[in-house]
Point group: C2
Chain length 773, copies 2
C-alpha cells in the first residue's frame, strides 16, 4: 500500500499544545460524534455505523483549530460578555441555548426543518411554539427569554410575529385605555395578532395604500374596506391562517376628506371557532423564495365593509371624536419614531447574522487544507486555505464588518433611546440626525450583510453547497431585509436628500447648523480645511485612525459635492438622481459605522480589558481601511471643474498612487495580523454549535466526521418508519438499514422502462448483475 | 365613497394602441387567468373563486406592457432565432416547451416542486424522468431533445446527470473498444451512470484525491479503495441512491509508483436487485443549500478493495498493459480538453440563467408603479419604477450582460470546436489562448450572473421574496457554479499566471509571441503606443467602440503591470498573490467578453437584420461602458513609480475627471435609450411564461391577478385531498373550501394553551368570538 499523505499524524499531534493522551492523535477510526442527537425518548447516544479509518486529513482538523485557539492573545469571553448583553443577560441566554440544545424536539430541529415540506413546516411551527411555551412555563422564562429562544431557533412563526410586531404596535401606538384593553390580553395570548400594512400593490410607499377606513357618523364606527384587487393586504405574517386580530393600516376618510394612513384594531377570526369573521376573506400567500419563512403564514386579507367601533382606531397620536372631528397629533414628526425604532433594531441584528456566516467560514477555512506550498519542505502537508490571500482578504473584512455592525448597532439603540425620551418631552434636537443615520445604516448594513453571508458560503468551496454548511436559513431569512422596513434604494435617496439639505444649511450658515460627528463632514464643501488631512504615504501612516476617518469624510463630501453639482451644474431634477444617491448613502453609512464602532469600542474599553480592546481596535482599523478601499475613485481622481471641495484646487486629488499602494499594503498587513487571532475573534461572538447548525463551523474542527455522520443519518438513506409528521426528517444513525435504502420510485418508475428499452435495443442483454461490465 | 386613484381607466385604455373592444378596459372584476393549470384529467379550466373589483392599478399593467411592446424598433423574433439556435433548432425547442406546458404533470410542475419535501422531490424526480422518456417515445424526441426538455424543467435528476456527465466522459475518454462496450448500453439506459471525482477532503485540487486504484499483477485487475474518511467520494450526482455504474477518478499506483489521477469504470449496483455490489457503501449526502437540486441524489461512496478488470481503466489517452507497463498519453496537454469543454459550455448557460432574472425584473418593473412624480400634472398616475435611475441603472447593465454572455459564449463554443479539431491532429496553437479565456470567463461570468440574478430579485421589492417571483430554483441552481469545475478564485490565479507568462514572453520577444486579440493588449507593458488611446472628453466620444475597448485593454495592462511589480518590486511570491490576481482576471474577462460579444453580433449581423443589429450594437456599447465603469481607479489613478505602462509618464493617468464624468453621462444616455426597447429586448430571449414560472415576469403584465390566483390556489389554503404523493402541492382553484382552510395544528397545539393561560390570568374572560374587542 503506497503512502498516501506526507504528513505524520503523531508528530503533528505532539506539536499541538492541547492534545491530551486520549486526544485525537490516538484515534484511528471514525467515531461517533457526541453532539449527534437521538430520536425522542432514546436513552443511548446515537452512533454512526461505518467503520472507517479516519486518516490524517480529518485527524489534523482538531489539532489545527486547537492550536489556533491556544494562541489567543485575549480572552474571547470578555468580548462575548459585553456584546451579547442585550435584550437578555448572558446567563439567561446560555441557559436558554443549553435547554434547547438538549431538548428532544429542538435538539435536531434545524436539521429536520430541511426535510419538511411547506405544509409540514407550518404544522411544526405551531408545535414548536407550543413546546416553547410549555418549556417557558416549566422553567419560568419571561417574554424576553421566549423571544430570545424563538430567535435562536430561527423560528419564524405567527406567535413570534405576535410578539415582535403586534404587541409593540399596540403598546407604542395605542392610547393608555387601548393598551389596557388589548395589551394585557395580547401578552397573555388570549388573542393572537398580526400587523397588516403592505398591500398587493403598495409597500414602501405607505401613502399609496388603498385600504379604506371610512367614518360612518350614524353608527359611530369605521368601515374597513378593500376596494380593489391591489388593495388586498399582502405579506403580514400570521394573517393568512392564524391570527385572531389584526392592526390594519388604512386611509382614513371622514366626510369625504382624506386624512392619510392610520392604524385600526380589527377582529379577524372567531375566538370560539377560529372561522374568519363576516366580511373577512384571507389565506396564505404561498411559499417564500429559497424556502424562507416556511413556518410563517404570510397572508392575504380582504375586508368587505367590516364595521369596527370608533374606539378601535389606535389613538396615541391622533384620534377621531364622536361626530367625526379629527384631532391631529401634536407633531407630524412623532410618527417617525416607530420607523426609526424598527430600523435601529436591525443594525446589530444584521451584524449577528453575518457573524454566523463568518464564524463558519473562518473555522472551516482554517482546518481545510488544499495544495502544498511550492516552497514547502519535504514532509510538509497542504496549506490551510485560510492562509491564501484570496480567502483571508475576503473573509477578514467580513469579520470586521460583523463586529462593526454589532457594536455600532448597540450605539444606534442607545441613541434611539435618547432621542425617544427627548421626543416624549417634545424635544426634536436628535431626531433629524438619528433619522438619517438609521436610514443610512439600515440600507447599508442589510445589503453588506446579505452579500457578506453569501460570500462566506462561497468561500467554503464545494461543501458550501451542502445544507449542512448551515446557510439554508441564514441567507434566505436575511434576504427580505433589503426591501422591508423601507426599500434600501428609497432610503438611499432619503439620505441623499438629507445630505443636500444639511450641506445647504452649512453653506448658508457655517456655524449655526445643527450637525453631529456623522454630518459635520459636510462643512468641507464650503469651509476650507474643515477636514484637515495629510495623505498617508506608508502603510504605517494609514494605521492612524485619522487617516481612514478623514478619508471616509472627504470621500463622502466629494460624493455630495457631485450630487449637488448634478442639480446646480447639470440641471437634473433630484427625483432623477436616485442612482447618484446610492454612493452618497453608502459613503455616509461608512462614516457612521466607523464613528459609532470606534465610540462603542472605546466606551466599553474597561469592560473588554486591555488585551481584547487592543485587538478590537485593530478590527476598527481593518473596517475603516477596507471601507476606504471599497471605493477609491473619488479620492484618487481630481474633482471636475466646479465640483471641488473648499480648499482643494482643480486637478488636485486627495490621494496619489503612492498612498493607494500603501493603503493596500496596510490592509494586507492588518489582515495578516488579525488572521492569527481569527479563531478566538470568532469564538467571541459566542455561537454554540447548536445555534450555528453547521458541520463546517464546528467549534472542535471535526468537520469531516460531522459531514459523514449527517450524510449517513440523513432520512433519505433510511426507509421511513411511519406516516406521522413526527417521523419526517428524522435522522437515523446506526440503523440496521443504514446506507441500504433503495429508491422505491426508481425501481417502480424507471427500471421497467430501462429494461424494456434494453430488450428492444437488439444488443445482447447484459448477463447477471452488471458487475462484469 | 372617495375617489381612490387619480387616473382614468377608460382614457388610459384608449391610449393603448392594442386595446381591443373586449380588452382589459372592459374588465371590472378580477377574472380567471387562462394559464392556470387544472388537476390531472380535469376538463374545465380552473377558476379563481373570489369576486374582486380589479381596480385601476391592476388594470393598467396590461396596457403598460402592450404599449412598451408596440414601440419595438426591431423584431425580437429575429434575435431569438439566432441566439436560441443551439443544441437543438428553434422549431424543436418550441415544440418541446409547448408539449411540457400543456402536459398534465409538467404544466404545474415548477410550482408544485415548491411544496414537496426532499423525499418527495426525489421520488418526483424519478417520476418526471419516466414521463419525459414516455413522452419522448410517444413524440419521437431524440436525446438532445430529451436533454433540452429536462433543462427546461429545471430538473436536476440522476438521469440528467447520466446524460450530461457519465455518457460524455465515456465517449470522450474511453478507447474505441470501451465506447462500444459501454456507450451504447448507456445511451439505451441499460445502465445508469454517475461521474465520481470529488471527495470529502478534496475538490478543485484533483492531484490531492485520495482514492486508490492499485494494479494487482496476479489477477490483472485494479483494486479500487477508499483508504480514509476524507477519501470518501462526495457530491457525484446519482451516486447516492440510483446509479448502477460509476466512472471513478482515482490515483493510479503500479508496483508502488504513483501515476496520478486516472478514470475507472466501476460497477456499483446490481442490475438485477439494485442492491449495492460487494465492497460498495453509499448513500445520499443530504439536502443542498437553499433547497437546490432536491431531485438529485448527490452521493457519498466508499470502496472497500473493489476489484475491476484492467480493461476498465478508461483508455483513450493512457492505458496499462498486462503485467503493469504504463503507456502514457502522447501529450500531457490532451487531458486539458475535457475541462475546457465543460467550462466552455458554461458561459452561454450563465447568460441564459441571468436572462431569466432580467426578463422577470424588467417586465415587473415596467408595470409596477410607485410614487407620483413631484412635477406630475393633476390626474397623472404613479411612475413606472423602471423609470427610476436606481432601478434602470441597475437592470439595464444586467440585460446587457445577459446578451454578452450568451453571444460571447457562442463564440467560445466555436473556438473550442476549432481547438479540439486542431488537437486531434496534434496542433496546440489555440490551446493556451482558449484555455486561459475559458478559465477567465468561467470565473467571471458565473459570479457576475449569480450576483446579477439575486440583484434582479432584490429589484422586485417586497414581492421578490415570494416564491412566485420565480427565483426559487434560479438562484440556488446557479449557486454552485462559482465553485464547481474549478473554484473561481483558483481559476483567477491561473489567469494571473498566464498573463505574467505571456507578458514576459512579449517583453523578451515583442514580435514572436503567440497572442490573440484577447491577449495582445499585454504588449502595452513594454511597447509604447501598443494601444493607441485618446481619452474621451464627452459622452458622444465614449460611444465609439475604440473608447471602451481601449480603456478595457489599458486597464487590464495596468493590473498586470501591478501584479508583475508585486513580484519584481515588492518581492512577493506568486503563490501569495491570489488576491491580486482577482482583479487581473476580472479585467481580462471583460476584454474577452467585449471582444467576443462584438464579434458575435457583427458575425451574425445579416441574420439579425439591420434594426436588431442596430440595437444589439447599443447593448454591446452598454456592456463595454459599464465594464469600464465597474473599476475606474486603475485608469483614473496615475501609475506608481516603476509600474507605468510603456509610453506613459509617471504621474500621468489614462482618464481625467472630465472623462470620468462623461463616462457616467454616456452610460446614462445609453440606459435611457435602451430603456425604450427593454421589453422587446427581453422578449427576444424567447422565454415562455411556463419556463419562467413567475407571476411577476408574465409576458402579458397581469402580475397582480397572477399573484392573487396563485395565492388563493396554494395548497396551504385547502385541506389536502388524500395521502398520495400525487396530491402534494396540488393547486386547487375555486374549490368549495377556497380560503377556508383552518390550520388544524393551531387548534390542536396552541389554542388550548392560550385558553388555559387566559383562564389563569385573572382578567375577565373575553365574551363571545372576540369580534367586539
Amino acid at each position: 500500500m503506497p503512502a498516501l499523505t506526507t504528513n505524520n499524524p503523531s508528530s503533528s499531534a505532539a506539536s499541538s499544545s492541547s492534545a491530551s493522551s486520549s486526544g485525537p492523535a490516538a484515534r484511528t477510526t471514525y467515531e461517533p460524534l457526541s453532539s449527534a442527537k437521538g430520536p425522542a425518548g432514546s436513552s443511548n447516544p446515537p452512533r454512526v455505523s461505518l467503520p472507517i479509518p479516519i486518516g490524517n486529513v480529518a485527524l489534523n482538523t482538531v489539532n489545527d483549530i486547537e492550536k489556533a485557539r491556544s494562541k489567543a492573545a485575549f480572552d474571547p469571553a470578555k468580548i462575548e460578555e459585553v456584546i451579547r448583553d442585550g435584550r437578555i443577560d448572558n446567563e439567561s441566554r446560555r441557559k436558554i441555548i443549553k435547554t434547547l440544545d438538549a431538548d428532544e424536539v429542538f435538539g435536531d430541529w434545524k436539521k429536520r426543518m430541511l426535510h419538511f415540506n411547506r405544509e409540514q413546516q407550518m404544522a411544526m411551527s405551531h408545535k414548536a411554539c407550543r413546546r416553547l411555551l410549555d418549556i417557558a412555563e416549566r422553567d419560568e422564562w419571561d417574554t424576553q427569554e421566549i423571544i430570545e429562544a424563538a430567535i435562536s431557533l430561527d423560528l419564524q412563526s405567527p406567535v413570534t410575529i405576535h410578539w415582535v410586531a403586534f404587541v409593540p404596535v399596540i403598546m407604542s401606538q395605542g392610547s393608555p385605555e387601548q393598551v389596557e384593553r388589548w395589551g394585557g390580553r395580547a401578552m397573555n395570548h388570549e388573542i393572537l395578532g398580526a400587523y397588516l400594512q403592505t398591500e398587493l400593490g403598495h409597500g414602501t410607499n405607505v401613502q399609496g395604500l388603498e385600504t379604506l377606513a371610512t367614518y360612518d357618523e350614524e353608527s359611530d364606527s369605521f368601515d374597513i374596506h378593500s376596494p380593489t384587487l391591489t388593495s388586498t393586504k399582502w405579506w403580514a405574517g400570521g394573517s393568512g391562517l392564524t391570527c385572531t386580530h389584526g392592526i390594519v393600516q388604512a386611509q382614513l376618510y371622514i366626510k369625504g376628506r382624506r386624512y392619510g394612513p392610520h392604524l385600526f384594531f380589527v377582529p379577524m377570526r372567531s375566538l370560539e371557532t377560529h372561522e374568519k369573521l363576516p366580511g373577512i376573506v384571507a389565506g396564505d400567500i404561498g411559499p417564500k423564495t429559497y424556502g424562507a419563512f416556511g413556518g410563517l403564514d404570510n397572508g392575504w386579507v380582504r375586508f368587505d365593509h367590516v364595521k369596527i367601533p370608533r374606539d378601535n382606531m389606535l389613538g396615541k397620536h391622533a384620534h377621531v371624536k364622536k361626530g367625526g372631528e379629527y384631532v391631529k397629533p401634536p407633531s407630524d414628526k412623532l410618527s417617525y419614531g416607530g420607523m426609526i425604532f424598527i430600523r435601529s433594531q436591525m443594525i446589530d441584528r444584521t451584524g449577528w447574522m453575518l457573524s454566523r456566516g463568518i464564524t463558519i467560514a473562518t473555522r472551516y477555512s482554517l482546518v481545510r487544507r488544499q495544495f502544498r506550498d511550492p516552497d514547502a519542505k519535504e514532509g510538509e502537508i497542504e496549506r490551510s486555505v485560510l492562509s491564501y490571500p484570496s480567502l483571508n482578504r475576503r473573509l477578514m473584512p467580513l469579520l470586521a464588518k460583523s463586529f462593526a455592525y454589532i457594536i455600532a448597532g448597540r450605539r444606534m439603540r442607545i441613541l434611539y433611546e435618547e432621542m425617544a425620551s427627548q421626543l416624549e418631552s417634545g424635544d426634536t434636537t436628535l431626531l433629524a440626525d438619528v433619522h438619517v443615520a438609521s436610514s443610512s445604516l439600515k440600507a447599508y448594513c442589510t445589503k453588506q450583510s446579505l452579500d457578506g453571508i453569501e460570500e462566506c458560503r462561497q468561500a467554503l468551496g464545494g461543501h458550501g453547497f451542502s445544507a449542512y454548511a448551515g446557510f439554508s436559513s441564514l441567507f434566505p431569512d436575511q434576504a427580505p431585509t433589503v426591501t422591508y422596513e423601507g426599500d434600501n434604494y428609497v432610503l438611499c435617496q432619503q439620505v441623499g436628500r438629507a445630505m443636500l439639505k444639511i450641506a445647504g444649511e452649512l453653506q448658508r450658515n457655517p456655524q449655526g447648523a445643527n450637525v453631529s460627528n456623522t454630518t459635520d463632514f459636510l462643512r468641507a464643501l464650503a469651509t476650507p480645511n474643515a477636514i484637515p488631512y495629510t495623505a498617508p504615504q506608508t502603510a504605517e501612516e494609514w494605521l492612524r485612525p485619522e487617516s481612514w476617518t478623514g478619508a471616509l469624510r472627504l470621500r463622502c463630501a466629494r460624493r455630495v459635492a457631485d450630487l449637488q453639482a448634478e442639480i446646480t451644474q447639470a440641471g437634473r431634477r433630484f427625483v432623477d438622481l436616485s442612482w447618484d444617491c446610492v454612493e452618497v448613502a453608502k459613503s455616509h453609512a461608512e462614516i457612521v459605522v466607523n464613528a459609532w464602532f470606534t465610540e462603542g469600542v472605546e466606551g466599553d474599553a474597561q469592560a473588554y480589558g486591555e488585551e481584547a480592546s487592543h485587538w478590537l481596535r485593530k478590527i476598527v482599523a481593518l473596517n475603516g481601511l477596507t471601507s476606504v478601499a471599497r471605493d477609491i475613485t473619488p479620492l484618487a481622481l481630481p474633482a471636475a471643474e466646479g465640483r471641488e471641495l473648499a480648499g482643494y484646487k482643480s486637478g488636485q486629488a486627495v490621494l496619489g498612487p503612492k498612498s493607494v499602494l500603501a493603503l493596500e499594503a496596510a490592509v494586507r498587513s492588518l489582515v495578516e495580523e488579525v488572521l492569527g487571532q481569527a479563531i478566538p475573534m470568532c469564538d467571541s461572538f459566542g455561537w454554540s454549535d447548536w445555534e450555528l447548525g453547521s458541520s463546517l463551523g464546528r467549534k472542535d474542527g471535526r468537520v469531516y466526521e460531522s459531514l459523514m455522520a449527517e450524510a449517513e443519518g440523513n432520512p433519505l438513506n433510511h426507509a421511513p418508519k411511519g406516516n406521522s409528521i413526527d417521523d419526517v426528517g428524522r435522522y437515523t444513525y446506526s440503523a440496521p438499514n443504514g446506507g441500504k435504502y433503495i429508491s422505491h420510485t426508481f425501481r417502480e418508475e424507471l427500471e421497467p422502462l430501462f429494461r424494456a428499452a434494453a430488450a428492444r435495443s437488439g444488443e445482447e442483454p447484459i448477463k447477471g448483475s452488471g458487475a462484469k461490465l
